[in-house]
């Protein structure tokens, strides 16, 4: 696969995020913090409704990244959380190759990834490395 600095991946959108999406991820990951699925709990805590699990957005961004550059060849995935994600949000993932570095396994692509909300705010930002 020819991968060069400056390559960008075709953006992909996920959503609108549903409560079912959040619950399915909660079950798959074992994260049962009620703030993410229990409306009564969330509103009692002062939130307008439940909000998504940060690691759910991270998993979506990882889906996007591994479809682009490979599930078997990923060597690092680093994610930082910025903005909360709410039911109804539409998330757009994008990615760009920012460097090619040598490694013991051969050249490795360093990529920057973002997952933005429909408001334009970055929900999460990530970097990743893939053997190419």
């Amino acid at each position: 696969m020819g991968v060069s600095v400056g390559d960008v991946a075709e953006p992909r959108t996920f959503g609108p995020v549903t409560r079912t999406d959040i619950v399915r991820y909660a079950g798959a990951s074992g994260d049962f913090n009620p703030i993410h699925h229990d409306e009564t709990f969330a509103t009692a805590a002062g939130f307008p409704t439940v909000f998504s699990i940060g690691m759910y957005q991270a998993a979506l961004l990882a889906t996007y990244a591994t479809d682009w550059l490979g599930a078997e060849t990923i060597r690092r995935f680093t994610v930082r959380f910025s903005d909360q994600v709410w039911p109804g949000d539409v998330l757009t993932c994008s990615g760009r190759v920012v460097g090619i570095e040598p490694s013991e396994e051969g050249p490795t692509a360093e990529v920057e990834l973002t997952c933005t909300r429909q408001t334009g705010a970055t929900a999460i930002a990530a970097t990743a490395a893939f053997v190419i």
Binding site: R24, Y25, A59, T63, E72, R76, R80, F81, A128
Partner: protein, 137 residues
């Protein structure tokens, strides 16, 4: 504080589907794990004690700042049993935007295969947000 983490095909498939992935790499007898899959390890296989509880952070002010997963070769795959060893990593402080001190800590978890080789490392950043020096009201 170590615990065993069996890597299971069905859990990989369930996790990949929850993340809207149809990548065939996550759906075969030797399926690899999705990049953030090890977030499930402590939830399903941990013994309930976690180094984060030793930080002394006030729970109401704790945020999940970020996660890093590093794989030392092809990611772990279905059929393996890994041993997870979490420990407290680096700690640091920063002044909050509205005064007070923000405290940061890393939890580092090593994952080793049956031969004892390090196959993955997870680094979790935990933040305790600042308590403003003077509380109002």
């Amino acid at each position: 504080m170590s615990f065993e983490v069996p890597i299971e095909r069905g859990k990989i498939r369930e996790f990949a589907r929850a993340a809207y992935s149809q990548n065939p790499a996550y759906d075969s007898p030797g399926a690899v794990i999705p990049p953030t899959f090890l977030t499930t390890a402590a939830n399903f296989w941990g013994d309930g004690t976690h180094p984060a509880s030793q930080l002394g952070f006030e729970l109401a002010r704790v945020l999940h700042g970020g996660e890093e997963y590093e794989f030392f070769g092809r990611p772990p795959h279905a059929g393996q049993t890994l041993t997870a060893s979490p420990r407290l990593g680096e700690r640091w402080e920063k002044e909050g935007k509205r005064g007070g001190v923000m405290r940061f800590a890393k939890i580092v978890t090593e994952y080793r295969d049956a031969a004892g080789s390090l196959v993955a490392e997870q680094r979790t950043t935990v933040i305790e947000t600042a308590k403003p020096p003077k509380q109002e009201g």
